[in-house]
Symmetry: C2
């Protein structure tokens, strides 16, 4: 068993978590990882903070270099090697060695697909102009950084008000650019309910970001050198020395689909809880694969770093002969714009509606700390409970000082199937610098009762 | 029913929470509150931050003034009125009107005892010297503030390294005093395990506090004007222009005991989960009463602001004809010394040992944020699980950036009876400014597996 050769496609979070786990369990196993880029195991989530200047050098985002995997873990990592085809019949992959410009076949006994996701790039006028970026990899972040350094744009338009859009807005504002953010939806952060996102948009506006909602990106104007100059969106024509696309991502699953490996939710590779694809001997994990949603009780597509790490570990455990299952997601996510923290888990109200779940909801405002404590800010909490059982099924928090990580209390309550009453009853912590006597989450739960 | 007269002894958190709740439920009921001090509903937990200068004026700590209770809620609050005797046979209390200097009897139909707690003051040489303070009320904080302003002491000795001791050490250091802290135990924060308190003591030392452990307070030397000059403790003789006693508190339950009302854990008034004492028509809540411990499955003594508020609400609900039970505590507590945050819940290892619980434990160190993120600090997490069931029974966290409120995730897990595996499996939140990919609590849980 341990002599079976493992090939991994993709050298980032999921792929390297899996490879490292297999190595820890099976010292003698042959493990080959093909990574089409230059970098392995980097923190994609940190790219905005590198671009904003908080993280000084891009290398700081790299958790482990390819040479370290080779030397210390005996994992044969080959960067600049892109797998372009999977031959499930012959159990081999066609590899394009990008530095040498030649292709070769590599056999496998077991295959893990961890190809990640790619940013959505709309097919519109001028989208190939210089100065238009979508963050797909550490390299794309480095390229964007170089563009800013060399061209010194004064204005940036960010298309898309999701997590990436908001984090890039912070980064670009921190660099001193004039930032405009557009979204075709009537709100930022469409995974949340509209009224919870209003304080976020207002805060961004207060901090100098121009926010245009309900404006669909339609095209770009270039200057004579072929660089982007203007963004056309709905009624708008915005100056833009730089454009960043944060329009979501799609799973890199074409290579799997072409090989007859089943895809499912959001076009991601279909997997069971053990990260097995529908094709024997082939596994998938991370941003290219489905995830199980605990409340929806079905597979969904949730491309996030935490999920990728966990799925990689599960895949690695199973590939090395252990038994592990991916425990599932609740759609937990957090971000910030400067001091304004944002978090969500479980069902937003609109999801509950779509799914026909009968629910009760509440929204409360609370001080973030004891109200007399200096710097106490505002925290807004929305909780959603199932009408029939009183069980908590979702939460959203926006505000200062801990609005982000506070969602973990709600995550635990939803995971445990707690009722609103049980949340009210919990012996949560209190001290004036950190919380009012009744934690904002409990204040919301009390109101919901 | 609603015409029965309610008398409340004590106008702080528990007493006023209860009185307010009764008023909301029963508009016509007669409610009289006797408070021996000048202030009602103040945030005792905020006193150190007033003394340290973070909170500018002591009035900011008062949630609601007696006049507001009288005018807006029709609650007859009488400050400077001390109840000195309870006559359960005649259903009346003897009240000492401290401003007029005369006593009178007041009848009740129902009585709520919310007399709070008093700081432990040891009977040792010189303890009555000027400049020795124990924080018992907002007034005592104001008196301490005045002493500092008038006498400008350069040195302060804080006796006791518990929550109050640590918060007062921060406050006094912030005011520019040279701070020494002594404790007879070999550690600060004796509700935690020794190894978890070491980083706290080290951090305090690094920030200029002299910490002397294993030194028992033995007496004081006075100057000719009767002011404290030196503290004698074990092998030490410490300069002290000011002394603050943080040696714990004891329940103000003598008045109940004298009236034949049963006392229990820690000498506190015995109550059931509805906050009923053993004597009909008499209730107790807050720092003078017992609390139910969820893991120990018995009554304990836990004098804390959160508990007082909740017990007051439960008492008020029941007194006004509703039905509520105090849900119980886990011994959750948090504090900080400047940037160093400290938290605990459930069983410390030493408690598990004392109680004969077979357990597994782990201690891990984690970065507080993604390690590349600027200002990422250290966070140390200790988790304790029951050996037989794998259920989590306790947690302690010390460190930077969220070590305090992070305990709420552990609180929820312990409350829900989650196993260590279930904690590992949770979809907790992640973003670089707030957490590493694996939250420190989950990293600890993974190690414990």
């Amino acid at each position: 068993m341990s002599k079976k050769k493992l090939v991994v496609i993709g050298g980032d979070a999921a792929g390297m978590s899996a490879a490292s786990k297999v190595r820890r369990e099976q010292a003698g196993r042959e493990i080959v990882v093909f990574e089409k880029g230059r970098h392995t195991s980097y923190a994609a989530c940190g790219i905005p903070y590198f671009l904003g200047g908080l993280v000084e050098r891009p290398e700081m985002l790299i958790a482990r270099e390819p040479e370290i995997f080779r030397k210390k873990q005996n994992i044969d990592v080959r960067i600049l090697h892109e797998v372009v085809r999977i031959d499930t019949g012959e159990k081999r992959v066609l590899v394009d060695d990008l530095s040498e410009g030649k292709k070769f076949w590599e056999s496998y006994d077991e295959l893990l697909i961890a190809t990640g996701a790619s940013p959505v790039v709309p097919d519109i006028d001028g989208v190939n102009a210089a100065g238009i970026f979508a963050l797909s990899s550490l390299q794309s972040g480095i390229d964007l950084f170089r563009f800013i350094t060399e061209n010194k744009p004064e204005t940036v338009v960010i298309a898309g008000g999701g997590y990436i859009g908001i984090e890039m807005a912070e980064a670009m504002a921190d660099r001193g650019l004039k930032v405009s953010l557009i979204d075709m939806a009537g709100q930022v952060m469409t995974t949340m309910d509209e009224e919870m996102t209003r304080p976020v948009a207002e805060y961004m506006v207060k901090h100098g970001v121009k926010v245009f909602l309900g404006e669909k990106l339609e095209g770009f104007e270039k200057d004579p050198e072929g660089r982007v100059r203007k963004v056309l969106a709905g009624s708008l024509k915005l100056e833009a020395g730089l454009v960043i696309l944060g329009l979501g991502v799609k799973p890199n699953s074409d290579i799997a689909g072409d090989a007859g490996i089943a895809t499912g939710a959001g076009g991601a590779i279909r997997v069971n809880k053990r990260q097995e694809s529908g094709t024997e001997g082939i596994w998938a994990a991370g941003d290219c694969a489905e995830s199980f949603h605990l409340l929806k009780d079905r597979q969904v597509y949730v491309p996030l770093g935490t999920v990728a790490n966990k799925q990689g570990l599960v895949a690695g455990t199973n590939i090395s002969g252990g038994r592990a299952e991916f425990p599932g997601v609740l759609g937990t996510a957090i971000t910030r714009f400067r001091e304004m923290e944002v978090s969500r888990t479980g069902f937003a109200e609109k999801e509950a509606k779509e799914l026909g779940v009968r629910y009760r909801k509440t929204i409360i405002e609370s001080p973030s700390r004891s109200s007399y404590f200096p710097g106490s800010g505002k925290m807004t909490v929305k909780l959603i409970a199932e009408e029939k059982t009183g069980r908590l099924i979702g939460g959203q928090i926006v505000g200062m000082h801990g609005a982000a990580k506070r969602i973990d209390t709600v995550v635990a309550a939803v995971t445990a199937g707690m009722t609103v009453q049980q949340l009210v009853d919990m012996d949560l912590s209190y001290a004036p610098p950190f919380s009012p006597v009744w934690d904002p989450v409990q204040t919301a739960a009390r109101t919901l009762l």
